[in-house]
């Protein structure tokens, strides 16, 4: 048969199939001419699930989380990794901008100092109260009180700034009005010979050096090379120093250690480091140049609308996108963290990673667990014995310890985290699937399938696994929050995701320092995480009840 003929036949077959399928779906008639609607187990389960309010609410919340996480990139939130040191520890506020909050903080600090200096007039009782607060370590209260009292007195004219205070105040006011934050994105180098553009990371060393030299104002390339070399040298040196901070090293020791480190990196490794240093430096150069340029424009009186977005070219052939905004007119709904990063976007991006870990971990462990469990359950005998003994042995080991060791050996990055969590979490699923399959494999329809000539794999994956799917689905929905908890625990210990990436666990872990002073850093991620875990559990429970019509706790 010719290929085209075969193709036509295939299409024809498919159409035919489709027609028959459709005819079947439009309601079959039974002997009594009543319409019979196909109603599968999953449809039935869905009907039951809808009756369970808690589960439906849980499902909605989970879906909401999923949507937010998926859309994190296009949501109007600040970057989760942009560090603005001026904005550190800003409290959450719906109405006030970062500038106002900074001003308030500055003022309360000034009033508090002047109270200590005795320039703020307070009664004896109030003085005692403030001192009491300080002994109780309630600095927030002191600051708030001082701020209110100071503002009152300043308005009434009984309090006047000193000269240095006035200067500080003016400078702050000025920076609030004029400070801009410039962000540089997608920096690309355009090859002047053929007009193609490249990412800086993908360029070779020599080109990068020449670009860097140009950016520095056309200095000698050899100088650039040596400066990069010394830069990398000092980088390695600090690394070595922090590694061996306990032992006292002489300069010579350090020199030899650096040499050793360099040897182990090899020439390519060192060059890669130099490259990344050059890329970083170029980025900084561009950012500084742009900031300067925009500031000058403002001073010159050009009216710029903020936020301002544009594509610019610097140093002849480097293209990049620039984004400038008034730094202090930002609003941080959920406050900022110790590096001035927006907590809201960190929670959203953190949720993305936490949920991802929950889902990927569950899928991986399901994958391994189903295969191992069904092999053990279906083939039985020796296969079963060895797989299950292996599972028992792994069960016996403290799994958190295993994960921690795994992370410590292979390094802490997300992939290793997935791997480590999946490695130890398939055990329960394997046991469960095995039990299910053992009870199902003696069913008559399995024997019937065998009598029709189906092979082992076909029976397992076409007949046995789908039949135990309801249990698996339920278990995996209950499994996701568990993974999130485990990941949070690891992140809390500092073994999970590494900065600047965030996860709910790492956010909570970071926030434990200064918990009383900056409670929002702990409270919001905790609320968000708890809400998700709750809804996931409700949803899972609902699914379990829905898939098991005999279950006693029906609603």
């Amino acid at each position: 048969m010719k290929f085209t003929d075969r193709f036509k036949k295939q299409i024809h077959d498919r159409e035919e199939m489709h027609k028959l399928n459709k005819a079947g779906r439009n309601g079959a008639k039974n002997e009594f001419n009543q319409t019979v609607q196909g109603n599968s187990l999953s449809k039935d389960a869905w009907r039951r699930l809808r009756k369970n309010k808690a589960a439906v609410v849980g499902m909605c919340v989970v879906i909401l989380y999923a949507i937010i996480s998926l859309c994190a990139g296009i949501l109007p939130i600040y970057s989760y990794e942009e560090i603005i040191i001026d904005h550190q520890y800003l409290p959450p506020s719906l109405t006030k901008t970062a500038g106002e909050l900074m001003l308030k903080r500055q003022l309360s600090e000034m009033y508090a100092t002047s109270w200590r200096q005795g320039r703020l007039s307070v009664t004896e009782e109030e003085d005692a109260m403030l001192n009491n607060w300080i002994t109780l370590d309630d600095t927030n209260k002191v600051w708030n009180w001082c701020y209110e009292e100071g503002e009152k007195q300043r308005a009434a004219g009984t309090y006047v700034f000193s000269a240095s205070e006035q200067k500080k105040y003016d400078r702050l006011q000025d920076s609030i009005k004029n400070d801009i934050q410039v962000t540089i994105n997608s920096v690309r180098w355009v090859n002047p010979e053929n007009g193609k553009s490249y990412k800086l990371d993908n360029l070779d060393y020599d080109t990068l050096v020449s670009i860097y030299a140009k950016a520095l104002g056309g200095i000698d390339e050899q100088k650039v090379r040596t400066s990069l070399e010394t830069g990398v040298n000092s980088q390695i040196q600090t690394e070595v120093k922090t590694k061996n901070s306990e032992s006292e090293l002489t300069a010579e020791d350090i020199q030899s250690l650096v040499a050793m480190e360099k040897d182990s990196l090899g020439e390519d490794g060192v060059q890669a480091k130099e490259k990344s240093l050059a890329v970083d430096n170029i980025n900084v150069l561009i950012q500084n140049a742009m900031t300067k340029q925009i500031k000058q424009e403002i001073k010159a009186g050009t009216n710029k609308e903020f936020p301002y977005k544009d594509t610019e070219t610097l140093f002849d052939d480097i293209n990049f996108k620039v984004e400038a905004s008034l730094k202090n007119s930002r609003r941080y709904i959920l406050g900022t963290d110790n590096l001035g990063r927006d907590l809201l976007s960190r929670i959203i991006y953190g949720g993305r990673i936490s949920i991802l870990i929950g889902i990927v971990g569950t899928i991986t462990s399901l994958f391994i667990g189903i295969i191992m469990g069904s092999l053990a359950g279906y083939f039985g005998g020796r296969v079963d014995y060895y797989i299950m003994r292996f599972v028992d042995v792994l069960y016996g080991l403290p799994y958190m310890l295993l994960v921690i060791i795994c992370m410590a050996i292979f390094g802490t990055n997300i992939l290793n985290l997935f791997f480590a969590l999946a490695m130890v979490s398939w055990l329960t699923i394997a046991r469960m699937v095995r039990g299910q399959i053992m009870s199902l494999k003696n069913q008559e329809y399995i024997e019937a399938a065998r009598s029709m000539g189906a092979g082992g794999w076909r029976i397992i994956f076409r007949h046995l696994v789908p039949n135990s799917l309801s249990v698996i689905i339920v278990y995996s929905t209950l499994r996701v929050p568990e993974f999130i908890m485990q990941e949070s625990f690891l992140s809390f210990l500092g073994l999970g995701v590494q900065a600047p990436l965030a996860s709910w666990g790492s956010l909570i872990g970071d926030s434990t320092q200064g918990m009383t002073k900056y409670p929002w850093r702990l409270v919001y991620p905790a609320i968000v995480m708890t809400l998700f875990l709750f809804s996931m559990n409700f949803f899972g429970d609902g699914l379990r009840d829905a898939f098991d019509p005999q279950s006693k706790n029906m609603l």
């Binding site: 079947g24 002997e31 329809y445 009598s451 000539g453 189906a454």
Partner: protein
């Protein structure tokens, strides 16, 4: 009626299937022989636990191993020994050349898959070049043949939307969708009510006649056997005790067990003494610890004292096609020879002690 000269398609010789259990070895099938011709319907009858189902599962090589194992014998199917071919080749025989219908239609269809999926799967498993649409239309045809109303639509239903009788029809349709040469029906009507029973049996008979499919019908219902089968094997404790054409077995039951079975079927026209129904005394034997030699002798009202419990009964041909394994038909010479042998055996046993 079948033609005597038609081809033999299944020839079972000396088949033995044992199960290893904690209590000992269960000889579920202990050396049985039978043949099935093309287009023949063979009935296998016997009490529960006498090895009827195990015989057929052994033929299909569907015995779970461990604990079960077919230890001896040969199963010649169209010239090949099914016990010797590989598992892959065996899979090609199952469903394709030999199909099976199970006792309980309620559980023998996968509840998770639509009827269409299951039927298409069966066809495509054996005929790889059949497209899905083709397989579907063939399945619909089969469903029509077995009398499912509105087959075009009903095929997309799930098994639980079908009644028991319909499911059994679906099973039959599935079993026949690859034009199998031999259909093994393992008590196909036990779980169904009487009217549906009749329909299903009629269907099997129709298939048997129209498609020339040989049928092995396992049942303990003698009425069904009388109506359906050409030949009958009566099994007791893993052995065939009597084998004959249906007419002969009902007219002249030779083995006391067969006789008992037939008499214990209630009949409208005859009643036993004092209006009581005849029943075979005692319980079916414990298969782990069978009575020595003829396993039926403790319950047999014609047992010969000192002979049946000591010597294995020989097989006699009462007619050219009527076989019985019982001492009742042995000659005196045979009996005395067997007794002598038994004495010798016992003596040697005691001597060795």
């Amino acid at each position: 009626m079948i033609d005597k000269n038609s081809k033999v398609i299944l020839d079972v010789k000396g088949l033995k299937t044992y199960f290893k259990t904690d209590a000992g070895i269960v000889k579920a099938v202990d050396g049985i022989d039978f043949t099935v011709h093309q287009g023949e319907t063979l009935g296998i009858v016997g009490e529960s636990g006498c090895g009827k189902s195990v015989t057929n599962l052994s033929v299909m090589r569907l015995i779970q191993s461990p604990p079960g194992k077919t230890v001896a014998g040969e199963v010649m199917f169209q010239g090949t020994d099914l016990l010797k071919i590989s598992e892959a080749e065996m899979r090609n025989v199952r469903g394709n050349k030999i199909s099976m219908i199970f006792q309980d239609p309620m559980t023998s269809l996968n509840p998770f898959l639509k009827i269409s999926t299951q039927m298409i799967e069966t066809i495509r498993l054996h005929e790889k070049n059949v497209s899905k649409a083709e397989a579907l239309s063939r399945s619909i045809e089969m469903l029509k043949k077995v009398g499912i109303p509105g087959a075009e639509k009903r095929i997309f239903c799930y098994p639980h939307q079908f009644s028991g009788g319909m499911r059994q029809r679906v099973m039959i349709a599935m079993a026949l969708s690859c034009n199998a040469n031999l259909l093994i029906a393992d008590e196909p009507t036990t779980a169904l009510d009487v009217t549906i029973q009749a329909q299903i049996l009629e269907l099997i008979q129709k298939v048997n006649v129209e498609m020339k499919t040989a049928v092995i019908l396992i049942t303990h219902d003698l009425g069904v056997v009388a109506g359906m089968c050409d030949n009958v094997c009566v099994m007791y404790a893993g052995k065939i005790v009597e084998k004959a054409p249906t007419d002969k077995i009902y007219k002249f039951p030779a083995h006391p067990y067969t006789e008992g079975l037939i008499q214990s079927v209630p009949r409208m026209d005859k009643s036993g003494e004092k209006g009581k129904l005849f029943s075979i005394e005692g319980q079916p034997p414990n298969v782990i610890d069978l009575p020595p030699c003829c396993a039926f002798h403790p319950r047999c009202h014609k047992a010969i004292e000192g002979l049946c419990s000591r010597c294995n009964p020989p097989t006699h041909m009462l007619d050219e096609d009527h076989e019985v394994t019982c001492w009742l038909y042995g000659t005196d010479q045979e009996k005395s020879a067997a007794l002598k042998e038994a004495d010798a055996r016992q003596a040697s046993k005691e001597a060795s002690k």
